[in-house]
Amino acid sequence: MDADTETADRRMTPARRQRLARAVQYTVLAAIVIVLAVVADWGRIADSFFQIDIAAAMFPAVWTPFWNTIVYTALAFVFGMVVGVPIALMRVSAFGPYRWFATAYVEIFRGLPALLVLFLVGFGVPQAFPGIQYPGGVYGQVAIGLGLTSSAYIAESVRAGIQAVPKGQVEAARSLGMSHTRTMITVVLPQALRIVIPPLTNELVMLTKDSSLVFVLGVTTSTMELSKFARNELTANANATPLLVGGLLYLLLTIPLGLLARRLEKRGEAR
């Protein structure tokens, strides 16, 4: 009897246990911060990453590669959408050959590394088909090279969105006399695309970063993107500050994208 009351006293209520666990975790966090602050050689870190004059010298030249990063991303995304959405429609088609083609397409371009596809488009295809000209030169190569991979991912996202649209929506449309194609365009796709805004945003962010692969095509000052530019500066100055500047500029692109996507999602819900 005595022993029982004793264990009951020692046992904590769930709320007390949770408070204690929180306190321990905050203490660990504080300890890590303090250790890092004491151990790190701040002077050295500042020398490597925070050289204001090196950062300042990157401007305004950095705006050209910054702009190119945006253009490459946008071109590849547009190509990805223009090809990916029809591929998604083919994936859910009742006609076998469409399904087979779309499945093969997705498996191939989702499975190959973006770098390899870029090489293929930039060097493989021109060798196999001499005299081939990509529209827009390197811009065309990038749109196709990055867009092929992107379209496979977009196709899969959009297919999932199409399948997430309730069956009743299709039945209602068909019962009104809409054809299969009309139903897809008027009823299913608009709803599916709204559903896949989050994964499409993801894809756009991934593309922003994958545009750093463009350097393999051999770029000039005017066609250079952000990563290559930062790397050149890194070498020229033997200092890591350009990487920090480049990184911040990437975030300047990707974080607003996330915010925009959240706004679009909210608007979709409100409607």
Binding site: P166, E171, A172, A173, S175, L176, G177, M178, Q191
Partner: protein, 251 residues
């Protein structure tokens, strides 16, 4: 003019199998123009499947269906064209959730019947007023109550000018106090002479509005006749048991 001569729906020898499960086991049914037919029966009896076979949302395994002058089961059937003449109202409304209420009625007219938008909008407003939905043109379906959504769904089905209306348990997803507003719209439609085939559990509606009640069980039509006969004096034990359960659920 003898409208009885050519029935608007003619179903012969209809069978429907889902895998090994035979849901419809030989249905023969004729519906005359202007007739209101209620389909009742226990769940799983094949009522909804029969209804969905009429506009070929379900493909029959066997049998022929002629509806609103279209040979639905023929090899050269133009189902998109035929379905314009056969309106359908669903249990869960199925309004296009990304469109406004107005567009739910306008888009089918514009896209299916190729009616100019201005004219379609005028017709949509007229139909919405008829089902008692006003001032909600720019709302989205999710902003309406279930009863309002179902009345919009009826108006949408009417927008493409069908000659025949199918109702698949139109009030089953509604709160009891809202059922009446939908039934009264349907009653009005029946009074205007619309041919209606209604799957329902609303026995009072069947009694009051139907010209004929069909009792379906196990994939066959067990009883058929005027509501007074089928609902008040069922001839078969199966129908008696079913009606007793529906009308006196507590016993």
């Amino acid at each position: 003019m003898n409208t009885e001569a050519t029935p608007i729906v003619e179903i012969e020898g209809l069978h429907k199998r889902f895998g090994d499960n035979e849901v419809l086991k030989g249905i023969d049914l004729q519906i005359a123009e202007g007739e209101v037919v209620c389909l009742i029966g226990p769940s799983g009896s094949g009522k909804s499947t029969l209804l969905r076979c009429v506009n070929l949302l379900e493909t029959p395994t066997e049998g022929t269906i002629i509806a609103a002058g279209h040979d639905m089961t023929g090899p050269d059937a133009d189902l998109d064209l035929a379905r314009r003449d056969i309106g359908m109202v669903f249990q869960h409304f199925n309004l296009f959730s990304h469109m406004t209420i107005l567009d739910n009625l306008v888009v089918p007219q514009v896209r299916v019947c190729k009616i100019p938008r201005a004219q379609a909008v005028a017709e949509a407003r007229r139909l919405l007023a008829e089902v008692g939905i006003e001032g909600k043109e720019q709302a989205k379906p999710s902003q309406l109550s279930g009863g309002q959504q179902q009345r919009v769904a009826i108006a949408r089905a009417l927008a493409v000018k069908p000659r025949l209306m199918l109702f698949d348990e139109p009030t089953s997803a509604l709160d009891p106090e809202i059922v009446g507003e939908v039934l009264s719209v349907m009653k009005g439609l029946a009074a205007e002479g619309m041919t209606m085939l209604v799957v329902t559990h609303e026995m009072s509606f069947a009694r009051e509005v139907a010209d004929r009640v069909l009792f379906l069980d196990g994939g066959v039509i067990v009883e058929s006749g005027p509501p007074a006969d089928v609902l008040s004096n069922p001839k078969t034990e199966r129908a008696r048991t079913f009606l007793h359960r529906v009308l006196h659920p507590v016993d």
